[in-house]
């Protein structure tokens, strides 16, 4: 069965996403269990794949028995297995935790909702495992379509946000496809490994360069690289809470992963620096994005919007790592893909929990929640501290590697940007923490009816949600610290062999 592993990650998600609406029509609640079982299966497969890759090296799988370069090839190497495990693991925690939120928000359309969730994850994992440039486009569109629909479910404001997201997202996809066209006509192949061989052996041409630029713009849009981030804040803010909790930690990461793939497996080493200045563009735009995103986050009143801009900033951080195009840079980028997925997962889960219990998400209204929801607030604090990058949380180590990678290239400005960004993160996140812990709110008009209250050992009566929300939240928060402390193991066994 190990030989089939690459396919076993995305395919069940895809198949069961078609089944989910039917199941949902029969029994609403069953759709949830179907989704959780499928995601858990894919997560387990990702974990197994990672173990297998560490032990035996990368795996390939020819789809339908057609050998590459003719057929479509799936490749699971260290990086793919790693990102897949992160994405699926966080998705699993989020889907479990958002069950009641989704029941509230989706009102009788749970079958469709979980179908879209599975489709989204199928697209994302497909993008991760595929080694075919055109197949990547197809999976990109699958995940995006599901994403548009999920955002669109967020009421009146979500509709416009979803539609705009669709227009811009499809524009990104179209650019990517155009780039693939240039590449294909230049090399005659769509297989990534094959493309790499051909490009390594031949002279650089203008059409390949043009292809690279289009791919860069297309994927830049997907990973919300400044100034192509415009779709992101609205999509995160106005989508349903169950949705943004899911897409915020993972979706843009896969865009970043695809960008990294281009550097690692499609273009020869140094090509995207020397022949086309894409690495440089990523570093410069990343540097701008880190500061811009953090500065914009500081001004936001709605905490989801604040976190959305923080994502813009953090993704720019990943972009810098990729753009440096050195092993250390890649390690920093990949580590931050993991760390950011965990940190944002923690933060959005905490915000979702607050919204589930009290209905608020504006910063001023958070006053006093540290006392009402102590565990949720503690988890949020962990996520926030990790974002600031205080050791030994995960966020520190991505900062560490990126600092080293920047110094290695004598990019002192980038070093300054990386360091200053954590001060800026502290500025906007501590604003929230101050509010949650300190502000004495005389009459907080949270809805929190009696039924929402939850008596916990040691803490007494709180407004904490039940264990199905708390447990995933605490686990993801704990992972931010544990994986931070264990980062050397991750880097040594997974990231260094993979890059």
């Amino acid at each position: 069965m190990a030989a089939q592993l690459p396919a076993l990650i995305p395919v069940p998600l895809l198949v069961l996403s078609i089944l989910a609406p039917a199941v949902g029509m029969w029994r609403q609640s069953l759709a949830f269990w179907l989704a959780v079982a499928t995601i858990a299966f894919s997560t387990a497969m990702s974990g197994w794949a990672l173990a297998h890759v560490i032990a035996h090296g990368p795996m390939t799988y020819a789809l339908g028995g057609w050998e590459p370069p003719i057929g479509i090839e799936y490749v699971v190497d260290h990086v793919a297995a790693f990102v897949s495990l992160i994405v699926m693991g966080v998705a699993l925690a989020v889907v479990v935790a958002t069950r009641r939120m989704a029941e509230q928000e989706m009102q009788g359309r749970l079958g469709l909702y979980y179908s879209l969730v599975l489709l989204l994850l199928a697209g994302l994992t497909g993008m991760i495992v595929t080694a075919d440039l055109f197949n990547l486009f197809v999976f990109l569109e699958i995940s995006s379509l599901a994403g548009y629909a999920l955002v669109f479910l967020g009421g009146r404001r979500g509709m416009l946000a979803g539609y705009r997201y669709l227009i811009l997202g499809t524009l990104g996809g179209a650019f990517y496809l155009l780039g693939v066209a240039f590449l294909y006509f230049g090399t005659g192949t769509l297989n990534m490994g094959h493309t790499l061989e051909i490009l390594s052996a031949s002279e650089a041409t203008t059409s390949i360069a043009a292809g690279a630029v289009f791919i860069f713009v297309g994927l830049g849009l997907k990973m919300a690289l400044v100034p192509l981030h415009l779709w992101l804040p609205d999509a995160y803010t106005f989508s349903p809470s169950s949705v943004n909790t899911l897409i915020a930690p993972i979706m843009t990461k896969v865009g970043a992963y695809a960008m990294l793939r281009m550097f690692l497996s499609v273009f020869p080493e140094g090509y995207l620096i020397d022949e086309v200045p894409i690495g440089q563009a990523l570093v410069v735009l990343g540097g701008i994005g880190v500061v811009f995103g953090a500065a914009a986050a500081f001004r936001q009143q709605d905490i989801r919007r604040l976190l959305a801009y923080s994502s813009v900033s953090q993704l720019a951080f990943i972009a810098i790592g990729i753009g440096l195009a050195t092993p250390l840079g890649y390690v920093a980028a990949l580590l931050h893909i993991m760390n950011h997925a965990l940190m944002k997962g923690t933060l959005f889960l905490a915000v979702m929990a607050v919204r589930l219990q009290t209905g608020v998400s504006e910063v001023p209204a958070l006053a006093g929640l540290g006392r009402r929801l102590p565990i949720t607030a503690a988890a949020f604090t962990v996520g926030a501290i990790a974002m600031v990058g205080v050791p030994p949380t995960a966020g520190f180590f991505s900062k560490w590697y990126l600092s080293i990678a920047a110094v290695e290239q004598d990019l002192w400005v980038i070093l300054a940007v990386v360091l200053v960004s954590s001060l800026l993160s502290a500025a906007y996140l501590f604003r929230v923490l101050e509010r949650a812990y300190l502000a004495q709110a005389p009459d907080i008009s949270h809805k929190a009816p009696e039924t929402q209250r939850n008596k916990l050992p040691l803490l007494g009566v709180t407004w904490e949600p039940k264990a199905d929300v708390l447990l995933p939240l605490v686990l993801v928060a704990a992972a931010t610290i544990v994986l931070g402390v264990l980062n050397v193991a991750v880097v040594r066994h997974v990231l260094e062999p993979g890059t």
């Binding site: 486009f137 379509l145 404001r157 509709m159 416009l160 539609y163 669709l166 227009i167 496809l177 066209a181």
Partner: protein
């Protein structure tokens, strides 16, 4: 002159691309944005197909027993890819149209500025 003629399809494709992007980004009407999107996707499809053409090439159908010489056929792969791309494009258009009907029912308009101003009033 021949040079120019040979490049004619590329100019047309470039113009279509530009029109498409302009429609998506520059137009206020959400419907026109969608039309721009379709123009853009058509341009890309044309680009792929145009690239597959070979002078004197014929339909890539292999009859049993015949000797196959790749020089005689147009490249079939882009056509196959574009079938998929068309499917994707149709799916996106369908989803977008579904969104549009919902938006129109909700706001009574498909003009971005009008929708925004109405949302402001609501808020």
């Amino acid at each position: 002159m021949d040079e120019l003629a040979a490049r004619f399809p590329y100019f047309m494709i470039a113009i279509l691309l530009a029109v498409g992007v302009w429609g998506m980004v520059g137009k206020r009407s959400l419907v026109k944005k969608l039309i721009g999107l379709n123009v853009l996707q058509s341009a890309i499809i044309l680009f792929f197909i145009n690239g597959s053409i070979r002078d004197g090439g014929t339909v890539p159908i292999l009859f049993f027993g015949e000797h196959a010489n790749a020089e005689e056929f147009v490249n079939p792969l882009p056509h196959v890819l574009m079938l998929t791309a068309i499917v994707v494009s149709v799916a996106v258009t369908a989803v977008a149209l579904a969104f549009l009907t919902r938006i129109h029912r909700e706001f009574g308009s498909v003009d971005e500025a009008e929708i925004l101003s109405e949302m402001e009033q609501q808020a």
